[in-house]
Protein backbone atom coordinates (compact mmCIF):
# COMPACT_ATOMS: atom_id res chain seq x y z
CA UNK A 1 0.00 0.00 0.00
CA UNK A 2 1.29 3.44 -0.90
CA UNK A 3 2.06 6.01 1.78
CA UNK A 4 -0.55 8.63 2.62
CA UNK A 5 -0.72 12.03 0.96
CA UNK A 6 0.23 13.70 4.26
CA UNK A 7 3.31 11.51 4.70
CA UNK A 8 4.33 11.97 1.07
CA UNK A 9 3.96 15.75 1.39
CA UNK A 10 6.09 15.78 4.54
CA UNK A 11 8.86 13.92 2.70
CA UNK A 12 8.69 16.06 -0.46
CA UNK A 13 8.72 19.29 1.61
CA UNK A 14 11.71 18.04 3.59
CA UNK A 15 13.66 17.02 0.50
CA UNK A 16 12.87 20.27 -1.31
CA UNK A 17 13.89 22.34 1.70
CA UNK A 18 17.16 20.51 2.22
CA UNK A 19 18.30 19.77 -1.29
CA UNK A 20 16.26 21.84 -3.75
CA UNK A 21 15.18 18.59 -5.37
CA UNK A 22 11.49 18.49 -6.21
CA UNK A 23 9.72 15.14 -5.94
CA UNK A 24 6.58 15.38 -8.04
CA UNK A 25 3.33 13.60 -7.13
CA UNK A 26 3.56 10.13 -8.60
CA UNK A 27 6.93 9.46 -6.97
CA UNK A 28 5.32 7.73 -4.01
CA UNK A 29 6.81 4.44 -5.17
CA UNK A 30 10.30 5.99 -5.02
CA UNK A 31 9.72 7.25 -1.49
CA UNK A 32 8.45 3.81 -0.47
CA UNK A 33 11.39 1.99 -2.02
CA UNK A 34 14.13 4.30 -0.77
CA UNK A 35 12.78 4.70 2.76
CA UNK A 36 11.94 1.04 3.37
CA UNK A 37 15.48 0.22 4.62
CA UNK A 38 15.39 3.23 6.98
CA UNK A 39 11.99 2.16 8.34
CA UNK A 40 13.29 -1.36 8.84
CA UNK A 41 16.40 -0.10 10.60
CA UNK A 42 14.15 1.92 12.91
CA UNK A 43 12.20 -1.24 13.72
CA UNK A 44 9.11 -0.40 11.71
CA UNK A 45 7.49 -2.51 9.04
CA UNK A 46 5.69 0.35 7.29
CA UNK A 47 7.31 3.34 5.66
CA UNK A 48 4.26 5.43 6.62
CA UNK A 49 4.80 4.72 10.33
CA UNK A 50 8.45 5.68 10.03
CA UNK A 51 7.67 8.95 8.23
CA UNK A 52 5.01 9.86 10.81
CA UNK A 53 7.43 9.29 13.65
CA UNK A 54 10.10 11.45 12.01
CA UNK A 55 7.54 14.16 11.26
CA UNK A 56 6.54 14.24 14.93
CA UNK A 57 10.00 14.02 16.45
CA UNK A 58 11.81 16.06 13.76
CA UNK A 59 14.99 14.18 14.59
CA UNK A 60 17.71 15.97 12.65
CA UNK A 61 19.65 12.80 11.88
CA UNK A 62 16.61 10.93 10.61
CA UNK A 63 15.50 13.91 8.51
CA UNK A 64 18.90 14.02 6.85
CA UNK A 65 18.84 10.24 6.32
CA UNK A 66 15.56 10.64 4.43
CA UNK A 67 17.03 13.39 2.24
CA UNK A 68 20.09 11.31 1.49
CA UNK A 69 18.09 8.20 0.71
CA UNK A 70 16.04 10.10 -1.83
CA UNK A 71 18.83 12.04 -3.47
CA UNK A 72 21.83 9.75 -3.36
CA UNK A 73 22.90 8.06 -6.52
CA UNK A 74 25.82 5.88 -5.54
CA UNK A 75 27.38 6.13 -8.94
CA UNK A 76 29.44 9.27 -9.26
CA UNK A 77 32.38 10.43 -11.35
CA UNK A 78 35.84 9.89 -9.88
CA UNK A 79 34.21 8.32 -6.85
CA UNK A 80 36.71 8.27 -3.98
CA UNK A 81 39.11 10.79 -5.44
CA UNK A 82 42.13 9.37 -3.59
CA UNK A 83 41.77 6.07 -5.45
CA UNK A 84 42.01 7.80 -8.82
CA UNK A 85 44.88 9.95 -7.62
CA UNK A 86 46.70 6.86 -6.36
CA UNK A 87 46.04 5.10 -9.66
CA UNK A 88 47.43 8.11 -11.53
CA UNK A 89 50.52 8.68 -9.42
CA UNK A 90 51.42 5.15 -8.30
CA UNK A 91 50.08 2.45 -10.61
CA UNK A 92 50.12 4.19 -13.96
CA UNK A 93 53.86 5.00 -13.94
CA UNK A 94 54.62 1.37 -13.02
CA UNK A 95 52.45 0.08 -15.85
CA UNK A 96 53.85 2.51 -18.37
CA UNK A 97 57.36 1.41 -17.47
CA UNK A 98 56.44 -2.27 -17.71
CA UNK A 99 54.52 -2.18 -21.00
CA UNK A 100 55.75 -1.44 -24.49
CA UNK A 101 54.10 1.46 -26.28
CA UNK A 102 52.16 -0.77 -28.65
CA UNK A 103 50.73 -2.90 -25.84
CA UNK A 104 47.38 -1.42 -24.85
CA UNK A 105 46.77 -0.97 -21.14
CA UNK A 106 43.72 -3.05 -20.31
CA UNK A 107 41.45 -2.03 -17.49
CA UNK A 108 38.33 -3.73 -16.19
CA UNK A 109 35.58 -1.81 -14.43
CA UNK A 110 33.87 -4.81 -12.89
CA UNK A 111 30.76 -3.17 -11.46
CA UNK A 112 30.31 -0.61 -14.18
CA UNK A 113 26.69 0.30 -13.53
CA UNK A 114 25.88 3.33 -15.69
CA UNK A 115 29.50 3.77 -16.77
CA UNK A 116 30.84 6.61 -14.64
CA UNK A 117 33.86 4.67 -13.37
CA UNK A 118 34.83 3.43 -16.84
CA UNK A 119 34.52 6.89 -18.40
CA UNK A 120 36.30 8.54 -15.44
CA UNK A 121 39.24 6.20 -16.02
CA UNK A 122 39.17 6.98 -19.74
CA UNK A 123 39.28 10.73 -19.02
CA UNK A 124 42.27 10.23 -16.75
CA UNK A 125 44.10 8.05 -19.27
CA UNK A 126 43.51 10.50 -22.12
CA UNK A 127 45.08 13.17 -19.90
CA UNK A 128 47.95 11.03 -18.66
CA UNK A 129 49.11 8.72 -21.44
CA UNK A 130 51.70 9.84 -23.92
CA UNK A 131 50.60 10.11 -27.58
CA UNK A 132 50.58 6.72 -29.27
CA UNK A 133 49.98 4.80 -26.04
CA UNK A 134 46.69 2.90 -26.26
CA UNK A 135 44.26 1.69 -23.65
CA UNK A 136 41.15 -0.45 -23.54
CA UNK A 137 38.53 -0.24 -20.81
CA UNK A 138 35.92 -2.94 -20.40
CA UNK A 139 32.95 -2.18 -18.18
CA UNK A 140 30.77 -5.08 -17.03
CA UNK A 141 27.62 -5.31 -14.99
CA UNK A 142 24.94 -7.88 -14.35
CA UNK A 143 22.20 -5.45 -15.34
CA UNK A 144 21.53 -4.88 -19.01
CA UNK A 145 19.43 -1.82 -18.17
CA UNK A 146 22.26 0.15 -16.61
CA UNK A 147 24.66 -0.93 -19.36
CA UNK A 148 22.28 0.47 -21.95
CA UNK A 149 22.79 3.90 -20.40
CA UNK A 150 26.53 3.29 -20.08
CA UNK A 151 26.80 2.47 -23.79
CA UNK A 152 24.71 5.48 -24.72
CA UNK A 153 26.94 7.62 -22.52
CA UNK A 154 23.99 9.92 -21.79
CA UNK A 155 23.60 11.50 -18.38
CA UNK A 156 21.15 13.84 -16.68
CA UNK A 157 22.24 17.10 -15.15
CA UNK A 158 21.97 15.60 -11.66
CA UNK A 159 24.26 12.75 -12.69
CA UNK A 160 26.74 15.17 -14.23
CA UNK A 161 26.89 17.15 -11.00
CA UNK A 162 28.19 14.14 -9.08
CA UNK A 163 31.92 14.71 -8.79
CA UNK A 164 32.75 15.53 -12.40
CA UNK A 165 35.35 18.30 -12.64
CA UNK A 166 34.03 21.21 -14.72
CA UNK A 167 37.01 21.15 -17.06
CA UNK A 168 36.24 17.49 -17.87
CA UNK A 169 32.59 18.29 -18.46
CA UNK A 170 33.56 20.95 -20.96
CA UNK A 171 36.14 18.77 -22.70
CA UNK A 172 34.53 15.33 -22.80
CA UNK A 173 30.78 15.95 -23.02
CA UNK A 174 28.33 17.56 -25.38
CA UNK A 175 24.94 18.98 -24.52
CA UNK A 176 22.02 16.98 -26.02
CA UNK A 177 18.82 18.75 -24.96
CA UNK A 178 18.47 18.24 -21.21
CA UNK A 179 21.15 15.54 -21.20
CA UNK A 180 24.90 15.40 -21.67
CA UNK A 181 26.57 12.86 -23.90
CA UNK A 182 30.15 11.59 -23.94
CA UNK A 183 32.24 12.65 -26.92
CA UNK A 184 33.36 10.08 -29.52
CA UNK A 185 36.93 10.52 -28.22
CA UNK A 186 35.88 9.35 -24.76
CA UNK A 187 33.67 6.56 -26.05
CA UNK A 188 36.21 5.16 -28.51
CA UNK A 189 38.16 2.83 -26.23
CA UNK A 190 35.46 1.97 -23.71
CA UNK A 191 33.19 -1.03 -24.19
CA UNK A 192 30.48 -2.52 -22.02
CA UNK A 193 29.13 -6.03 -21.70
CA UNK A 194 26.86 -7.99 -19.41
CA UNK A 195 28.62 -10.23 -16.93
CA UNK A 196 27.57 -11.97 -13.75
CA UNK A 197 30.56 -11.97 -11.41
CA UNK A 198 29.24 -15.08 -9.70
CA UNK A 199 29.35 -17.04 -12.98
CA UNK A 200 32.33 -18.01 -15.18
CA UNK A 201 34.20 -15.12 -16.83
CA UNK A 202 33.99 -15.99 -20.49
CA UNK A 203 35.75 -14.05 -23.21
CA UNK A 204 37.55 -11.54 -21.02
CA UNK A 205 41.12 -10.57 -21.93
CA UNK A 206 43.92 -10.35 -19.37
CA UNK A 207 43.77 -7.04 -17.52
CA UNK A 208 46.50 -4.81 -16.13
CA UNK A 209 44.20 -3.19 -13.57
CA UNK A 210 40.89 -4.43 -12.24
CA UNK A 211 38.57 -2.05 -10.43
CA UNK A 212 36.17 -4.20 -8.43
CA UNK A 213 35.04 -1.75 -5.82
CA UNK A 214 32.12 -2.13 -3.42
CA UNK A 215 30.77 -5.25 -5.07
CA UNK A 216 32.31 -8.18 -3.14
CA UNK A 217 30.44 -6.98 -0.06
CA UNK A 218 27.23 -8.23 -1.63
CA UNK A 219 28.42 -11.83 -1.89
CA UNK A 220 28.84 -14.59 0.69
CA UNK A 221 32.29 -15.87 1.62
CA UNK A 222 32.29 -18.84 -0.78
CA UNK A 223 31.22 -16.70 -3.73
CA UNK A 224 33.87 -14.10 -2.84
CA UNK A 225 36.48 -16.87 -2.89
CA UNK A 226 35.25 -18.10 -6.26
CA UNK A 227 35.25 -14.59 -7.73
CA UNK A 228 38.76 -13.79 -6.47
CA UNK A 229 40.06 -17.08 -7.86
CA UNK A 230 38.60 -16.33 -11.27
CA UNK A 231 39.86 -12.74 -11.12
CA UNK A 232 43.39 -14.17 -10.94
CA UNK A 233 42.76 -15.90 -14.26
CA UNK A 234 42.09 -12.61 -16.02
CA UNK A 235 44.70 -10.51 -14.22
CA UNK A 236 48.17 -9.94 -15.66
CA UNK A 237 50.89 -11.54 -13.53
CA UNK A 238 52.10 -8.05 -12.63
CA UNK A 239 48.58 -6.58 -12.63
CA UNK A 240 46.64 -4.89 -9.87
CA UNK A 241 43.28 -5.42 -8.22
CA UNK A 242 41.55 -2.50 -6.54
CA UNK A 243 38.76 -3.25 -4.07
CA UNK A 244 36.48 -0.98 -2.03
CA UNK A 245 37.83 0.35 1.24
CA UNK A 246 35.67 -2.06 3.27
CA UNK A 247 36.76 -5.09 1.23
CA UNK A 248 39.75 -7.40 1.47
CA UNK A 249 41.18 -10.60 0.05
CA UNK A 250 42.63 -11.50 3.45
CA UNK A 251 41.30 -14.77 4.76
CA UNK A 252 39.56 -15.44 1.46
CA UNK A 253 42.31 -15.83 -1.12
CA UNK A 254 45.89 -15.77 0.08
CA UNK A 255 47.38 -15.58 -3.41
CA UNK A 256 46.91 -11.82 -3.21
CA UNK A 257 49.25 -9.42 -1.47
CA UNK A 258 48.14 -5.99 -0.25
CA UNK A 259 50.37 -3.09 -1.23
CA UNK A 260 49.76 0.26 0.44
CA UNK A 261 50.64 3.29 -1.61
CA UNK A 262 49.91 7.00 -1.30
CA UNK A 263 46.14 7.31 -1.28
CA UNK A 264 45.61 3.81 -2.55
CA UNK A 265 45.67 0.23 -1.38
CA UNK A 266 45.87 -2.29 -4.19
CA UNK A 267 46.37 -6.03 -4.45
CA UNK A 268 48.85 -7.88 -6.61
CA UNK A 269 49.64 -11.53 -6.93
CA UNK A 270 52.38 -12.87 -4.69
CA UNK A 271 55.48 -13.12 -6.81
CA UNK A 272 55.62 -16.64 -8.10
CA UNK A 273 51.95 -17.26 -7.42
CA UNK A 274 50.80 -19.75 -9.95
CA UNK A 275 47.87 -18.84 -12.07
CA UNK A 276 44.99 -21.23 -11.59
CA UNK A 277 43.91 -23.25 -14.53
CA UNK A 278 40.75 -22.04 -16.18
CA UNK A 279 37.92 -23.96 -14.63
CA UNK A 280 35.29 -21.25 -15.08
Amino acid sequence: MSISVTDFNFVTDLVRRESAIVLQPGKEYLVEARLAPLAKAAGMAKVGDFVRQVSLERDRKQCWAIVEALTTNETSWFRDASVYEGFRTELLPKLKAARRMHQPLRIWSAAASTGQEAYSLAMMLIDELEPGRRYEIVGTDISGDVLEQARAGRYSQLEMNRGLPARHLVRFFQRRGVHWEVTPELRRDVTFRELNLAAPFIGLPRFDVIFMRNVLIYFDQETKRSILRRVRQVMASDGWLILGTAETTRGIDDEYELVRMAGLSAYRLHSGASLPTRRG
Partner: protein
Protein backbone atom coordinates in the same frame (compact mmCIF):
# COMPACT_ATOMS: atom_id res chain seq x y z
CA UNK B 1 37.39 26.80 7.71
CA UNK B 2 35.27 29.65 6.41
CA UNK B 3 32.86 29.87 3.50
CA UNK B 4 30.75 32.61 2.00
CA UNK B 5 27.52 31.82 0.19
CA UNK B 6 26.57 34.45 -2.39
CA UNK B 7 23.06 34.11 -3.81
CA UNK B 8 20.11 36.47 -4.14
CA UNK B 9 17.73 33.70 -3.01
CA UNK B 10 17.57 33.47 0.77
CA UNK B 11 16.20 29.91 0.44
CA UNK B 12 19.20 28.87 -1.64
CA UNK B 13 21.58 30.54 0.81
CA UNK B 14 19.96 28.56 3.61
CA UNK B 15 20.23 25.27 1.71
CA UNK B 16 23.90 25.83 0.90
CA UNK B 17 24.65 27.05 4.42
CA UNK B 18 23.20 23.85 5.88
CA UNK B 19 25.16 21.62 3.55
CA UNK B 20 28.47 23.43 3.87
CA UNK B 21 28.27 23.84 7.63
CA UNK B 22 28.02 20.06 7.95
CA UNK B 23 31.66 19.97 6.93
CA UNK B 24 32.67 22.31 9.72
CA UNK B 25 32.66 25.57 7.78
CA UNK B 26 31.64 28.83 9.40
CA UNK B 27 29.38 30.39 6.81
CA UNK B 28 28.88 34.05 5.91
CA UNK B 29 26.23 35.17 3.42
CA UNK B 30 25.75 37.86 0.82
CA UNK B 31 22.90 38.48 -1.59
CA UNK B 32 24.96 39.74 -4.54
CA UNK B 33 28.54 40.29 -5.67
CA UNK B 34 28.84 43.86 -4.41
CA UNK B 35 27.60 42.90 -0.95
CA UNK B 36 30.01 39.95 -0.94
CA UNK B 37 32.95 42.26 -1.69
CA UNK B 38 31.86 44.41 1.26
CA UNK B 39 31.67 41.37 3.53
CA UNK B 40 35.15 40.28 2.42
CA UNK B 41 36.61 43.76 2.92
CA UNK B 42 35.09 44.04 6.41
CA UNK B 43 36.38 40.66 7.54
CA UNK B 44 39.78 39.89 9.06
CA UNK B 45 39.73 36.44 7.52
CA UNK B 46 39.61 35.54 3.87
CA UNK B 47 37.19 32.63 3.47
CA UNK B 48 38.49 29.35 2.11
CA UNK B 49 35.69 29.08 -0.42
CA UNK B 50 32.98 31.22 -1.99
CA UNK B 51 29.89 29.56 -3.43
CA UNK B 52 28.75 32.02 -6.06
CA UNK B 53 25.45 32.26 -7.94
CA UNK B 54 25.65 33.73 -11.44
CA UNK B 55 22.50 35.82 -11.91
CA UNK B 56 22.18 38.38 -9.15
CA UNK B 57 21.25 42.09 -9.06
CA UNK B 58 23.86 44.88 -8.76
CA UNK B 59 26.89 42.67 -9.33
CA UNK B 60 26.51 39.22 -10.83
CA UNK B 61 28.62 36.18 -10.00
CA UNK B 62 30.86 36.43 -13.04
CA UNK B 63 31.68 40.08 -12.25
CA UNK B 64 32.35 39.10 -8.64
CA UNK B 65 34.75 36.38 -9.72
CA UNK B 66 36.57 38.79 -12.03
CA UNK B 67 36.84 41.36 -9.22
CA UNK B 68 38.18 38.79 -6.77
CA UNK B 69 40.70 37.38 -9.24
CA UNK B 70 42.02 40.86 -9.86
CA UNK B 71 42.66 41.45 -6.15
CA UNK B 72 45.78 39.88 -4.62
CA UNK B 73 44.23 39.88 -1.16
CA UNK B 74 41.95 37.07 -2.30
CA UNK B 75 44.43 34.94 -4.20
CA UNK B 76 43.77 31.95 -1.95
CA UNK B 77 39.98 32.17 -2.14
CA UNK B 78 38.55 29.13 -3.93
CA UNK B 79 35.59 29.95 -6.16
CA UNK B 80 32.76 27.49 -6.76
CA UNK B 81 30.05 28.75 -9.06
CA UNK B 82 26.58 27.38 -8.22
CA UNK B 83 24.08 28.39 -10.85
CA UNK B 84 21.23 27.43 -13.16
CA UNK B 85 23.37 28.50 -16.15
CA UNK B 86 23.99 25.16 -17.81
CA UNK B 87 25.23 25.97 -21.31
CA UNK B 88 28.71 24.67 -22.08
CA UNK B 89 29.77 28.13 -23.26
CA UNK B 90 28.79 29.62 -19.89
CA UNK B 91 30.83 27.03 -18.00
CA UNK B 92 33.81 27.87 -20.20
CA UNK B 93 33.30 31.60 -19.48
CA UNK B 94 33.17 31.02 -15.73
CA UNK B 95 36.31 28.88 -15.72
CA UNK B 96 38.11 31.40 -17.91
CA UNK B 97 37.14 34.19 -15.51
CA UNK B 98 38.71 32.26 -12.64
CA UNK B 99 36.07 29.95 -11.18
CA UNK B 100 37.75 26.81 -9.86
CA UNK B 101 34.67 24.62 -10.11
CA UNK B 102 31.11 24.78 -11.37
CA UNK B 103 27.92 23.21 -10.04
CA UNK B 104 24.62 23.39 -11.87
CA UNK B 105 21.32 23.80 -10.00
CA UNK B 106 19.44 21.78 -8.97
CA UNK B 107 21.94 19.73 -7.04
CA UNK B 108 21.96 17.15 -4.28
CA UNK B 109 23.83 17.62 -0.98
CA UNK B 110 26.25 14.93 -2.16
CA UNK B 111 27.08 16.91 -5.27
CA UNK B 112 28.12 19.91 -3.15
CA UNK B 113 30.16 17.64 -0.89
CA UNK B 114 31.91 16.07 -3.88
CA UNK B 115 32.80 19.47 -5.31
CA UNK B 116 34.27 20.52 -1.95
CA UNK B 117 36.30 17.32 -1.89
CA UNK B 118 37.38 17.86 -5.48
CA UNK B 119 38.61 21.31 -4.51
CA UNK B 120 40.64 19.84 -1.66
CA UNK B 121 38.52 21.57 0.97
CA UNK B 122 37.27 18.39 2.63
CA UNK B 123 38.76 14.96 2.88
CA UNK B 124 35.86 13.06 4.38
CA UNK B 125 34.33 12.00 1.11
CA UNK B 126 30.64 11.23 0.89
Amino acid sequence: MHAIVIDDSSAMRMILRRIVSQFGFEVAEASNGREALEVLAASDTVPDVALVDWNMPEMNGLEFIQAVRADDRYSKLTLLMVTTESEQSQIVRALAAGAHEYLIKPFTPDAVAEKLELLGLTTAGV
